[in-house]
């Protein structure tokens, strides 16, 4: 027979979990705020959302993009707040790594020490007992604990639900929003009803966690704050007065960590980006980066209206080229290559091995669409120009000047993105000049855009006119691996 007590590892993981779960909630709200609308269908068609958390309305008579839809939430509810998606993502993914490690430690020790008995419903009779417990709570009384166990039946079922259902549910619905996982395992995303359904379900999970925390804390106060916190701090009920003080100190410490992390993040965004990014990108490198797209959506699944992110160049040069169907446009491919080359649009179209892919597009903000893209595989270009041994990255340069063309974006200068040479060799990395069977529309990047199906949208530079092979990108822009990485602190490799 196991003694279902509160060993030190349960106590430590409980309080560590408090820190991570609250960081996850606040950073999750930050991510939600960047596209504060929830949908059920993959196309995220404007007007079909089932929930909005914004007062903004978009114009119907002119082009707007999803950057215009971003909301700036207070730091009280979001981490770090104030429209900082990039930093919010860093905190969310850093916290989720910590949360999963804490959860794994907890579950492994539960199983190894026999403490899992505290959650295991041995008999169907636990359900009528739990119902009776509910009635007892509703009569403002406390139900009896199960014999030899630390919880009453309702508590036992609730905790088991949170640990073994709700927490995995959040991890699984979160994973279903990763473009790399969606690309490699499209059936998995369908299992949840699609990308946007997974996002909506993830939101419901957030609400359930918040409700659980509110009820949990309330009932601790009702049952006896001193007694229960004493169990969760000292492992016994002997030091109730100290437990009250210490529990409040621990909660204050968690609040202090939130406050300090928020202040530091807003004051030193670059340092935060580098520090958290080192952890997050290290994990992604072996877990998500190797995933290659296996998607092939049917023509019937194409989104009737593909949302737009980023506004087209408004320079006269671009307008003149567009007016002449980009006959004067050239793609220069140079840098650390054996054969620097220049291509016209027609030459690109005449290259052998044209590739078409019907795929789910994931914007970093959270919306999605399904589109069909045709073009030349990037690896074909890589093979033609022949990278020198020291070439490790591709700098993809756009004709868009963000300061000029994108008033919603905080930053100036030519848009560019750095991608790893290994990613350029992925079979689904594409330089697309067609979309949905027609020429690539201007708002989607004409004459040429990048498609990287295991990445989120912003890596797929549009309006491309130059690709440079480089050995290092620390001297390009702010050295973070792209315009958005430089200016809005996104992560360089974005498989989720």
């Amino acid at each position: 027979m196991y003694e279902l007590d509160f060993p030190v590892w349960i106590r430590i993981t409980h309080w560590v979990n408090l820190l991570f779960i609250t960081l996850l909630i606040r950073s999750g709200v930050e991510i939600l705020g960047t596209h504060p609308k929830l949908y059920w269908r993959n196309d995220s068609k404007p007007g079909t959302e089932w929930a909005r958390f914004t007062r903004k309305t978009m114009p119907t008579d002119k082009l707007y993009d999803t950057l215009d839809e971003e909301e700036s939430y207070s730091s009280l509810v979001s981490m770090p707040g104030h429209k900082q998606l990039g930093l919010g993502r860093h905190w969310h993914f850093f916290s989720v790594i910590g949360w999963i490690l804490t959860g794994l430690t907890y579950v492994i020790l539960l199983l190894a020490t026999g403490q899992w008995h505290r959650y295991w419903p041995y008999s169907w009779s636990i359900f009528p007992t739990a119902w009776h417990d509910l009635l007892t709570y509703l009569s403002f009384n406390l139900p009896p604990l199960l014999p030899g166990q630390p919880y009453d039946a309702l508590q036992k079922l609730t905790y088991a639900f949170v640990v073994f259902v709700l927490a995995p549910f959040q991890i699984l619905t979160g994973a279903a929003q990763s473009p790399a996982i969606e690309a490699r395992f499209p059936r998995y995303v369908r299992l949840w009803g699609g990308r946007q359904a997974a996002r909506s379900l993830h939101f419901f999970g957030l609400i359930l966690f918040v409700l659980f925390i509110v009820v949990h804390v309330t009932l601790i106060a009702v049952w006896g704050w001193g007694m229960l916190t004493s169990l969760m701090i000292f492992g016994d009920v002997e030091s109730r007065q100290w437990a009250i003080v210490l529990s409040l100190v621990i909660i204050a410490a968690v609040v202090a960590v939130h406050w300090a992390a928020t202040k530091y993040t807003l004051r030193y965004p670059r340092r935060t980006q580098r520090a958290l990014g080192a952890v997050v990108m290290g994990v992604r490198k072996w877990s998500l980066k190797p995933l290659v797209s296996k998607q092939n959506y049917s023509a019937a699944e194409l989104s009737p209206e593909h949302r737009v992110n980023g506004k087209p160049p408004i320079s006269d040069d671009y307008k003149i080229m567009a007016a002449h169907n980009f006959a004067d446009w050239r793609l220069e491919v140079a840098g650390l290559v054996e054969n620097p080359m220049t291509f016209t649009l027609q030459e690109l179209q005449e290259l052998s091995g044209t590739q078409t892919q019907r795929v789910l597009h994931n914007c970093v903000q959270g919306w999605s669409s399904i589109g069909e893209w045709s073009g030349v595989p990037l690896r074909t270009i890589v093979e033609l120009v022949g990278p020198l041994p020291e070439a490790r990255f591709l700098c993809v340069l756009s004709m868009q000047d963000s300061g000029r063309d994108e008033p919603s974006a905080p930053g100036q200068g030519q848009f560019y993105e750095i991608i790893d040479l290994s990613l350029a060799r992925h079979p689904d990395a594409l330089l697309a000049y067609e979309m949905n069977g027609g020429l690539l529309p201007i708002e989607h990047g004409a004459p040429l855009r990048l498609r990287l199906e295991n990445q989120v949208g912003f890596k797929m530079a549009k309006w491309i006119d130059r690709i440079e092979f480089v050995s290092d990108y620390s001297g390009i822009g702010e050295g973070m691996g792209g315009w958005r990485e430089d200016n809005v602190f996104y992560d360089k490799n974005v498989e989720i």
């Binding site: 504060p36 404007p46 007007g47 959302e49 089932w50 929930a51 909005r52 958390f53 914004t54 007062r55 309305t57 978009m58 114009p59 119907t60 707007y64 909301e71 509910l134 009635l135 007892t136 509703l138 009569s139 403002f140 009384n141």
Partner: protein
Amino acid sequence: MSAVLRWTGIGKLISFYRHIQFSAPWTTTGSASMLVCGIGAIHLYLLSGNFGFPTYLNAYFALLSAAALLSAVGMLLGRRPGWGLGSLVALAAIAVYVASRTLGLPGLPELVSRWDDPLGTFSLALAVLLLFVHVSVVTGMNVAVPRRRDWHD
């Protein structure tokens, strides 16, 4: 007043609801109908059970149950008075329950301070939730049938 609300931040807190909007008219209406039906069913149970309540209270239970049913039908048919009637049912259920436990009802002094009634707590919870849903419709957080969101952007 508005300066005080602005200065204290309370105005911002109160107006926070404007950032929350749902487009689920059938879910909203269905939820409200179920809540009001739940209140009606509890009072019907009290009426049909042999609890020895005074006649006036049984008449109140019958009236409240009938009003609850009428309200649910009205809501589902998309009639606004259905919502008003539902809120009246909820307010009456709260008021009579609280009065019975505080001031006492004629012929039922034994109910005073008897808050340990799970059915009563459950009925109170349903009534509060129903009022919350109605307020959410009135404030525009939710829409109820036959209305739909007009989101074209």
